[in-house]
């Protein structure tokens, strides 16, 4: 029995790790579904192509070449090295050691592990450069005002995780005496192995076992860290690019509820004194625009969870570049924070949201931020994984104007002019053609 203790222990932490993660994924999906419905199931081939190109193919990452290429190294390393995870799980559950080595044969196994080792070393280098860019070079977009406290720490914790995991993987291989003696696939670890030359065989074995366990436990902790971190993008980038807007970026939605009302207003046959239809008086009139996360659609909420706070949007935002309050990244972060708060409220109140007197507007996002936007689409263009901060800004402006009549005074004047004389300025419509006789 005692012999199987490690196997049982391994199975238990595996179940705990995956179980807790599954629980949080369900919470994540529940929260995203708090958003309004929007049909993004059309044009499937185009959607798959987008996902393949932007998420799988990292097509937009290289718009900024240095961080783009470094990111691709980490991304490819992450995906490929995780193939090794399969072997680790089998070894852990059944007490085997490098179970694939005899199955695949030395040549293939050595080739695979050798590649993993090279990737691990490259990832380590890339991640160290990332850390230097954040903390030493202090690239401006990592030091905006929203990047203090947890978001700043989060960024670094992820990098430490990756550094430790990659190091453990290499140390685990370096201290595997049989693996080193066989000499297949120890492309990088052969240079680390001599560090342990002075130790006894038992000590080296103990280091190997420790590295092996820390590596797998570290991976499970990292997996469970995702839900609490900006790092969720490694999963959500895929659905996020699949369900992204495919229309021209300049095309804003035409609110259907408004269309109905405008059509009724313009219908010469409509009876203004008509009784509402049976049952219609019980219907809650639809709210125009968004003042809280539940007024946004589920794609916008998924966007918020997907954002990895890289700040490419904010660093190209004309308002932010000129010192205004608005930061498209902060719009996404605040949306996620509020959504998390609403989710926790639901959890605490037995599945029902209990009014907490707060909302996304004012409590998180100020009108000053919203009114600073030029709707130029630079943020949407720059996002490497198809997040659309502009749509949230627009939906919230709609709420401010149509529900609260809270537009800036000059915009109210502009709109009054459009209503009265069909132009944003106070000129008579009769003068529309004056230009043809002027010089």
């Amino acid at each position: 029995m005692e012999k199987y203790l490690p196997n049982i222990f391994f199975a238990l932490i595996l179940i705990a790790g995956i179980g807790y993660f599954t629980m949080n994924v369900r919470k994540l999906i529940r929260n995203i579904k708090l958003g309004k419905d929007i049909d993004r199931n059309d044009r499937k081939p185009e959607r798959f192509k987008n996902m393949a190109k932007i998420a799988l193919g990292q097509y937009k990452m290289v718009r900024r070449p240095l961080s783009g290429i470094l990111h691709i190294i980490v991304y490819v390393g992450f995906i490929l090295i995780n193939i090794e995870l399969l072997e680790i799980v089998i070894d852990g559950l059944f007490g085997t050691h490098r179970v694939f080595q005899p199955v695949l044969g030395d040549a293939i196994y050595g080739f695979l592990i050798g590649n993993f080792e090279v990737l691990a070393a490259l990832v380590l280098v890339a991640v160290i450069i990332f850390w230097l860019r954040r903390n030493v070079e202090k690239v401006k977009r990592f030091w905006n005002k929203e990047m203090t406290g947890w978001p700043k720490k989060d960024g670094n914790i992820i990098l430490y995780f990756e550094m430790v995991l990659m190091s453990l993987f290499l140390i685990m291989n370096a201290t595997d005496i049989h693996f080193q003696e066989a000499g297949v696939g120890n492309v990088i670890s052969q240079f680390i192995a001599p560090w342990f030359d002075g130790y006894s065989a038992e000590t080296i074995h103990a280091i190997e076992k420790t590295a092996w366990w820390l590596h797998i436990v570290g991976i499970l902790i990292f997996l469970n860290y995702l839900y609490f971190s900006k790092h969720l993008h490694i999963l959500l980038a895929f659905p996020n690019t699949y369900f992204a807007n495919l229309n021209p970026k300049g095309q804003f939605t035409n609110l259907e509820a408004v269309t109905k009302e405008v059509k009724m207003m313009m219908d010469p046959d409509a009876d203004p004194y008509a009784m509402p239809e049976e049952g219609a008086e019980d219907e809650v009139p639809e709210k125009f625009g968004a003042s809280d996360v539940t007024d946004l659609n589920w794609v916008q909420l998924m966007n918020a969870y997907t954002c990895t706070e890289c700040g490419r949007c904010t660093s190209s935002c004309p308002a932010n570049l000129t010192g205004k309050e608005l930061s498209p990244r902060a719009i996404m972060m605040k949306t996620r924070d509020r959504l998390e708060e609403v989710g926790k409220n639901i959890d605490a109140n037995g599945g029902e949201f209990k009014d907490d007197g707060k909302q996304l507007l004012n409590d998180y996002i100020s009108p000053e931020e919203l009114w600073a936007c030029t709707s130029c689409n630079a943020c949407v263009q720059e996002c490497p994984i198809g997040i659309d901060p502009l749509s949230i800004i627009m939906d919230m402006r709609r709420y401010l104007v149509m529900e609260e009549s809270a537009a800036p005074q000059e915009l109210n004047m502009m709109m009054t002019n459009i209503e009265n004389n069909g132009a944003p300025w106070q000129y008579s419509q009769q003068d529309r053609l004056n230009w043809k006789d002027e010089n």
Partner: protein
């Protein structure tokens, strides 16, 4: 200038090839009216059978929509669609990328389906159809940089057409560091044109003008009346108006062709 209206055309039983949507800036703003007139001269030179709505033209509602007033936008849109459909308009050309965008992308969902051209696209088509040529003598060798309007560029991915026209002018074009899909907004979009900017440390049009000044231009070209205003103000702010002109592509073509 002889500019027929749709009403006059209809009275004569004629249907023009294209409706020129002048837009609010093009109709009322003194600077933008020059762009309007330049474009009309080009249309006339190419013998394009066009008409305008004149006093029947109204706001597209675009500025109201970007400001968040979907009601006002849809009221304007549906009223305009009634007028346009009554005249059986099939093709629209406009010098304003904001009108272009809303006609092309947002009117169809409300029942207004037209073939829509930005004026640079229309001029390009005139050249392709051998109805217009651009003379490359008058502006030869002038240093020029082109500012991408957001609602033409990122919003609708029109980057090359305006540049192809510029190349025909014989000028020496230098791109700004931020150009095409990375171009910086002039600061007028999203209804900012009609309000004071929020508190900050700089105005967006000044920042964009600085982008342009780095290329040491004699001409800053653009394809939007609002960008034109913003860049003109930026050049004045930098006290460079003696050395640098801000011009619409239509004006440059008119100048090149001695119109």
């Amino acid at each position: 200038m002889n500019v027929p209206t749709m009403a006059e055309m209809m009275a004569q039983g004629k249907q023009p090839e294209v409706l020129f949507w002048v837009g609010a800036a093009g109709s009322y703003d003194d600077r933008a009216k020059k762009i309007t007139r330049a474009f009309v001269k080009i249309l006339q030179m190419a013998n394009v059978d066009f008409a305008v709505l004149g006093t029947e033209e109204s706001s597209t509602g675009d500025a109201a929509k970007r400001a968040g007033n979907e009601f006002l936008f849809q009221m304007q849109a549906m009223t305009n669609i009634e007028v346009l459909n009554a005249y059986e308009v099939k093709t629209i050309v406009t010098c304003d990328p904001h009108s272009f965008n809303t006609f092309k992308n947002e009117y169809p969902g409300l029942g207004g389906k037209y073939e829509v051209y930005h004026h640079t696209q229309f001029i390009s088509k005139l050249i392709t159809d051998n109805r217009l040529t651009i003379d490359d003598v008058n502006l030869k060798g002038k240093r020029l940089t082109y500012h991408d309007p957001c609602y033409l560029g990122r919003a609708n991915d029109v980057y090359e057409t305006p540049r192809e026209l510029i190349r025909r002018l014989g000028v020496k074009m230098t791109e700004m560091k931020r150009h095409k899909s990375t171009a910086l907004c002039c600061g007028a979009g999203g209804a900012q044109m009609f309000k004071e900017p929020e508190k900050g440390d700089k105005d967006i049009n000044v920042l964009r003008t600085e982008d342009a000044l780095e290329t040491n231009p004699q001409i800053i070209a653009t394809g939007c009346p609002y960008c034109n205003t913003m860049m003109t103000d930026g050049v004045k702010f930098k006290e460079k108006e003696a050395q640098i002109e801000v011009k619409d592509i239509a004006e440059l073509i008119a100048e090149a062709n001695n119109l």
